[in-house]
Symmetry: C2
Subunit: 477 residues, 2 copies
């Protein structure tokens, strides 16, 4: 048997493709440099041979591997590869890539080629990629659909991103509850192939109501003559298409599901959520979270044009600038103090920085607790008390260290005491803000991670400057 080390194979494929692309670039330059009658036929031939070699390598590739390679390549190379891909492979790879890269592929593809590529997708896949497609292409496709496909497509468009309906598939195996085990087996054999991630078949009654599920292994192990009801598990976890996908994913994790049925409000079986969709959702969420914290709204193609990327980052920078101005004005109020005691200017960023860091630690823990639903209403009060205690504790320890540093450096005991007091107070502020900001965003129905870090740093900066300079004005002048 072939041993496949998936990661090594990917890297090897990518290296091979990169080598062919480099060769292509060289040959391309050579061929184009010699325009007109002097154009070297031999070099043109080599260039074509190289592209054929590239096609050959791409043809044997798994669609997911091709998607990976498309993601990893800069725009020029991505275009060359994309042009060599066969339509059978282009469809699934188009579904696999990230939104940002998919949009770049749309730009690289002519209208007709795009329509041809999309017509190889089923309604679910098409719906999944629809946000990346131009309006007129979508309309053209909708007309071209057969009526039952169209209704499936239009139904699924109704479920917003982040719902179970958006992520479910309609590919499933359902059998009537009147069957025997043998009849069920015959039914499956007649299909020749089952949909991917089929770990069980669903049992429905005459009105398409879900009655339960039979694991494939139960079908294998049961007496063929027995009624299917005996092998049916009636107590199974199911979802409504309107349920939050995030909650469904947690159920997949908690109960180790491979697939789960989706039923509408009247109990009718309409689809199925599979563990691969759940895992993709989880990965996407975790990627998004890290980007949201720094104010990037989502996916960004690593090789997008600088101008586009620069603008992507503006909204957050604008907010950051506004808060920095406010903090700057607070310092501005104490300019008189700073002129008389210039050490304050050098020391004040320490107070702000240590507050920002402890606040961010508290906040990361709270955000995580909210994400896994571990923070109950009663728990919030306890948590505030606990974080306040930590703030006071850490404030005392680090406040003394900072104070001793300031005292030694500027030979002033009173400056050391003021510095210590400011650190203790700012750590208490940081603890309160670290709990309050994500909880507040969460209770207001917002994502607790989004923007929380700017808000927190604003509070700990502004309060850090205010506390330190205020105390210094009151006690040192």
């Amino acid at each position: 048997m072939t041993t496949i080390r998936s990661q090594a194979r990917l890297q090897q494929n990518l290296a091979e493709i990169t080598r062919l692309l480099e060769r292509h670039r060289v040959l391309d330059t050579l061929t184009h440099r010699q325009e007109g009658p002097r154009r070297d036929l031999l070099e043109n031939l080599q260039r074509r041979q190289n592209l054929v070699e590239l096609q050959r390598r791409l043809r044997t590739m798994h669609a997911a591997d091709l998607a990976y390679i498309l993601e990893a390549l800069p725009l020029d190379d991505r275009r060359v590869v994309w042009e060599q891909v066969t339509p059978e492979l282009a469809g699934p790879a188009f579904v696999e890539v990230s939104n940002a890269v998919r949009e770049s592929l749309v730009e690289l593809t002519s209208h007709d080629d795009l329509v041809r590529l999309l017509s190889t997708l089923d309604a679910g896949e098409l719906h999944y990629v629809s946000t990346s497609l131009p309006e007129e292409v979508l309309n053209e496709l909708s007309v071209a659909f057969e009526s039952n496909e169209r209704s499936a497509f239009e139904d699924s468009v109704g479920y917003g991103e982040g719902t179970v309906g958006y992520h479910m598939t309609r590919e499933l195996v359902a059998i009537p509850d009147s069957y025997t085990v043998q009849q069920a087996l015959d039914d499956l054999r007649a299909r020749r192939e089952l949909p991917p991630q089929t770990d069980r078949v669903y049992v429905i009654d005459g009105r398409s109501q879900l009655r339960g599920a039979v694991p494939l292994q139960a079908l294998l192990l049961s007496d063929p003559g027995a009624p299917i009801a005996g092998a049916t598990d009636a107590d199974i976890i199911n979802f409504n298409p309107g349920d939050k996908a995030g909650d469904a994913v947690k159920a997949f994790e908690r109960y180790n599901l491979v697939s789960a049925p989706v039923v509408d409000d009247r109990g009718k079986l309409i689809g199925r959520l599979t563990v691969d969709a759940a895992m993709d959702f989880l990965r996407e969420q975790s990627n998004l979270e890290a980007l949201k914290r720094v104010g990037l709204s989502g996916d960004e193609d690593l090789f997008a044009a600088p101008w586009q990327s620069a603008r992507n980052r503006w909204p957050w920078l604008g907010i950051n600038l506004l808060t920095a101005f406010v903090a700057s004005r607070i310092i501005g109020q104490f300019e008189g103090t700073i002129v008389r005691l210039s050490a304050l200017a050098a020391l004040m960023p320490i107070v702000a920085s240590i507050g920002g860091n402890t606040g961010n630690q508290t906040m990361a823990l709270v955000i995580r607790a909210l994400a896994v639903d571990r923070l109950q209403p009663g728990g919030a009060r306890r948590l505030v008390r606990k974080e306040l205690a930590i703030g006071l504790l850490n404030g005392s320890v680090w406040g003394v260290i900072v104070g001793v540093f300031a005292m030694t450096l500027y030979s002033s005991a009173s400056l050391g005491v003021v510095m210590s007091a400011a650190v203790v107070l700012n750590l208490v502020v940081a603890a309160l803000a670290g709990v309050a900001i994500p909880l507040g965003l969460h209770m207001g129905g917002r994502d607790p991670a989004h923007g929380s870090s700017v808000l927190l740093t604003f509070i700990t900066d502004a309060m850090g400057f205010f506390l330190f300079l205020g105390l210094a004005t009151a006690f040192l002048l």
Copy 2:
């Protein structure tokens, strides 16, 4: 059939348990207040009835739901619930909870109860929880094992956290390659039950070498008389126990696997990785990443003692303090300048802050690209060029805004120009640092997320202060 809305059920269970616990607290206080002969028998009876009710609720619960509830409860309540849990449920719930909560449970359990609980676990589960267990308990268990279980346990201990070996299970179905389909079916039926997440059975030769896998659906759909070889897929993705778990999880995502075989260096089948383990790993990684960025090494029980939590956060705070001191000393070098132009003290945090934020954005994108293996050696050069372009672009736009602000506020055109120049230069520094830090950590074999944010903020703070105050000293005095 019972419709189970998993999330709603969980919340309802938790609310019910919380209600019983509150009742318990009230009754407990009443009972204990009246010590001696005046102790009220009726209240004691009510207290017991309440605990019986709690036991009854817990008994019908899924182990994963119990684990969820244990996580969500503060320490006192957690103890009360834990004492009422039956041994059959305690074992699996003990495996399900997070490390931090598991350690709190170990403290709540007597040595003998702990040994009894652990003896219900299999070697794989025991290995999984072993890091939370006291040494003497581990030794006692190792002796109690039967010899084949012991060797499995001791083998698995050899694989470090983060490897495939650590996360694999030994529960799998393997059949000889000489079987017919019918013989394979008979073999399965004789087992009565297959391990969870069994989507295929493995085919081995006489020397236990892996030959391939037969999907359960192929078993169902094949002619019973045919040799098993005809239904065997020989080209399957497999792992070595020493492979990185993170890479294996990516393969699960890429190829939509439900399970994959693990073979040793000589091709012998020794275990199996399942999608539920892959998903747990993914969730854990994504949780850890968010915590690592703020310098928390890992899991922290939300209800742990403040003293313990405070110390958890020290290493990072220490580093942060050190870098803040260095930045402070840089400002210290310019105290003479600040005394002569106090506006600089108020404006300098803006230069530092805007640099820190843009640098963190760049860094988040680079860390993410590294995490999904999308950054190739050739790509790094392009990325640096692109981020430099963005830095210059954003620097020009925001530098002008900041400059106009400074100019207006302090009625000094030259101050505005110095401020603009400092912002542009610091954004270029931020772009370089945002690419260089995670790439450097990655190439040095370190986790690119860990500690990257302190390093970056240090550079953008220190350089922000230095550039702004240095330019001001040169051109404004």
